[in-house]
Symmetry: C2
Subunit: 504 residues, 2 copies
């Protein structure tokens, strides 16, 4: 009897342990079922929880929140370096204010959440919107703050959440009804200055997406039919996702005088003449970029996080045998001290196996794992595992700090090397509609000659959408491309080289 019970218990325990380890890891491959991979990543790496029970409003957990807070700080720092100052605006916008620019309100009204009452059901005289974006709020104040050419350029931003009643399927980070962003609103004396700001925003996007987050992208001027409500032109960065669809990340809108006129944002120039400002706005969505970033870098084991936004840089896992237990732990603590300049955790939990710990920290995308066991002690070395390469090497104790510094320098660049190569390989040329279709089916971005991105080109774009399943994303801003062929759809003279892609 005793033995049987023992055996039964042993089996159960080992089954439970196995279940736990299975439960920890992601059970599908990213390139076989991206959607399930992403859903499991949300739960298992404890990034977002959709059980709050309000459609499109996930709760963001510790691990993703820490990274998003770092992203906010980095981007705020870039914006401030380029002359922006922070403001805090109310979350609510009175309906009348939202209605001041007709095209704008028409664009956003379907998505607005309305506050109509308070307390035990008392109605407000005027209903208020949860801001879907804050142009109307900002510019109503700019009209009072900006007086003279000396106040210009007037560059301000706020970090906040905005609300849009999405009807499409929501998914944590990617598409939610409340999302977290920065919005910069800049006013200028002249149109040229506003256009230069678009280029500065492009550079800011590059610095943030490319250099900090290792996310290759193309910055486009969008076609006329795909503009922000009220904008003269819209510009946006597209990132290519695993799914073969592109995702729009920061966008910049050249608003011209479309808002400064209804909101009366004027200045007195050097000669004493009153003029309307030229305005731009830039809206990088931190939560959306986070979602795209983890989807781009993640692998079958889980997260891979760029260095600057990783909550932990290094986790130290002791390999414990009873006879060397104290010596190993002592070395682990010394190593933690040595790396005090980094964010380091010593995982000395007794009730988890070494294998479980390895899986957990790989799942969570910690850039470096240091393993220290009795053998390492003997060799005066430690084992270093890098999440960018998924490789272990033995490093002499004396060289450890130098090695970590080296990895710090290389880490994000290594991620970029891979993503940039993938990205380039996936941008291809097409000369016919058929070629476009074939390349879209292979999850590619397709470069093609196209008649026009003003309203004249809209019919061709609709054809591409309906017949080929792709969207005309626009023309590059970073370089001027001249079409060599005629329009790939209508055969008329092509004015532009456009990029076509499947899209979220």
């Amino acid at each position: 009897m005793r033995q049987k019970t023992f055996k039964y218990t042993f089996d159960t325990l080992s089954k439970m342990a196995k279940e736990k380890e299975n439960d920890l890891g992601i059970t599908v491959k990213k390139d076989e079922d991206f959607s399930e991979w992403y859903t499991q990543l949300m739960q298992k790496a404890e990034l977002a929880d959709v059980r709050y029970n309000l459609k499109g409003f996930p709760v963001y957990r510790e691990w993703s929140t820490i990274s998003m807070k770092k992203m906010y700080r980095i981007l705020e720092e870039i914006l401030e370096r380029k002359g922006h100052m922070p403001l805090i605006f109310p979350t609510l916008i009175p309906e009348s204010l939202l209605r001041k620019e007709a095209e704008h309100v028409e664009g956003f009204t379907p998505e607005v959440f309305w506050i109509t009452e308070h307390g035990a059901g008392e109605r407000f005289e005027e209903k208020m919107a949860l801001r879907p974006t804050s142009e109307t709020a900002f510019y109503s104040m700019y009209s009072m703050w900006i007086r003279s050419y000396k106040d210009l350029p007037f560059k301000r931003y706020q970090s906040c959440s905005v609300f849009r009643h999405e009807t499409k399927m929501t998914r944590p980070f990617f598409r939610t009804r409340e999302f977290y962003w920065i919005e910069a609103h800049d006013a200028f004396a002249a149109e040229e200055d506003a256009k230069k700001q678009v280029l500065e925003d492009m550079e800011t996007t590059y610095e943030f997406l490319h250099e900090t987050l290792a996310m290759p992208h193309i910055f486009f001027q969008r076609p006329e039919w795909d503009k922000f409500p009220g904008a003269v032109h819209t510009y946006a960065a597209d990132v290519l996702m695993e799914s073969g669809k592109v995702l729009q990340l920061p966008s910049t809108h050249l608003l011209g005088q479309n808002f400064s006129k209804p909101f009366n944002v004027k200045f007195v120039d050097e000669k004493g003449n009153e003029k309307y400002c030229h305005i731009t706005c830039y809206g990088p969505a931190i939560s959306r970029i986070y979602g795209a970033m983890i989807a781009l870098h993640g692998d079958d084991k889980g997260l891979v996080l760029p260095w600057d936004i990783a909550p932990l840089h290094v986790v130290i896992v002791p390999i414990i045998f009873e006879d060397s237990r104290e010596k190993v732990l002592k070395k682990c603590r010394e190593t933690r001290e040595k790396l005090a300049g980094y964010s380091v955790k010593l995982d000395d939990r007794d009730d988890y196996s070494v294998g479980y710990k390895f899986n957990e920290w790989e799942l969570k995308g910690v850039p470096i794992r240091i393993e220290i066991g009795p053998k390492d002690l003997q060799n005066k070395s430690v084992t270093v595992f890098r999440r960018d390469l998924n490789k272990k090497t033995s490093v002499k104790e004396a060289d450890l700090l130098k090695e970590i510094k080296k990895i710090e320098k290389e880490f994000t660049k290594n991620l970029l090397k891979k993503t940039a190569a993938d990205f380039e390989a996936n941008v291809v040329n097409a000369k016919t509609a058929d070629e476009i279709k074939k390349s879209l089916d292979k999850n590619r971005i397709v470069r093609a000659s196209f008649c026009s991105i003003d309203m004249n080109g809209m019919k061709c774009a609709e054809k591409i959408e309906k017949e080929l399943g792709g969207f005309v994303r626009g023309i590059r801003v970073d370089k001027k491309e001249t079409p060599k062929d005629s329009c790939v759809i209508c055969g008329k003279k092509a004015k532009e080289v456009v990029y076509v892609a499947k899209s979220y």
Copy 2:
């Protein structure tokens, strides 16, 4: 004619310049008309703008936003050091969730903003609250996240804005319908752990208010009749304002199991038994603390800002005469370089007088002004003005960095020296109701023996409120005080020493 025109123009210009300088400075004394002083400070130092035209929703401008962002970072850093991790919860709370704890919903319902529709007027099936506070949101998730004693303590916070439909008069920072805070929600296995957390929150408050912001305060346990809806006990720090009224700054609530039961926040203990968690919550309001801080330290010239949250540490003002212009500017630029470790601005605007610049930066509370003119050049010195002492001294160029470092160390302590002395002088004892009344009239906090802070003492407290115009703020948490006399109101045996004050 010509002369007349000239004279007219000259007069007008000089009148305009005078108006501008008058317009810059605050025209009332702080201790004569605090309310007007504060209102002018809002406008003239460009801290808050109430012209957004939504009652209780001011726009916070650059200067205050930069400081509030610094305050957030400092307090988040303290909380994280003490084991808290950040989360991001939705701004909206479904009505049913808010209703889960009866006393809580009863307490907050009158103040709730309700979202009832979206788009062109489509009603939601269930209305949603703009969070007035997030207990109900947090604990609905804690019930899913917390499983075992190993998960405890579970300490989390979020930085966000909350919404309360205040019916009292609103004022930027002090009392608004949207305010900016941190809320920490901590779950524990045992009651003792929760009580220790209250003490930790008291220490956090001390570190933040006292050491960082030079704001003396007393941390009280509130009487039973002045509790947070749903709390077992409420604790809060009171600061004494210029007006003679105390202002409640961070409060901590010992929620016991009042929320863990309706929200089912349970854990399995070491022996395998399921138990309900003990919960505390802590809610420092950054915007309110900012308001109290500027009101406390400000003087007739304007803001005085503690070192760690000042947007600028040093402003350099060149004293320009045409013959030495370039030399002086060169020295100013060199000085800026020398102080590159600080936040430094060289105010080389040509179209403002030196006097105007002095006034502006004093109004904005920049801790240090450095003046450099031809005389300073000759003496190889600079003139250093300190906003904490409102005094100028001449400092040898070679000693400048050392001097700035010295001021950095002393600055906030100097502010504290003054505010702490004021605070201590304003806490006085009273043995009779009449003595309480007299001291309250002198804008003091009054210490008195009192029958009880449980519900038995409520009648005496009501008498104090109605007849003396003061509120019983509670008993100290930092030390146990034993009453020597009988209750100052009813004459029965006194169980407590309480503090009575006028209150916002």
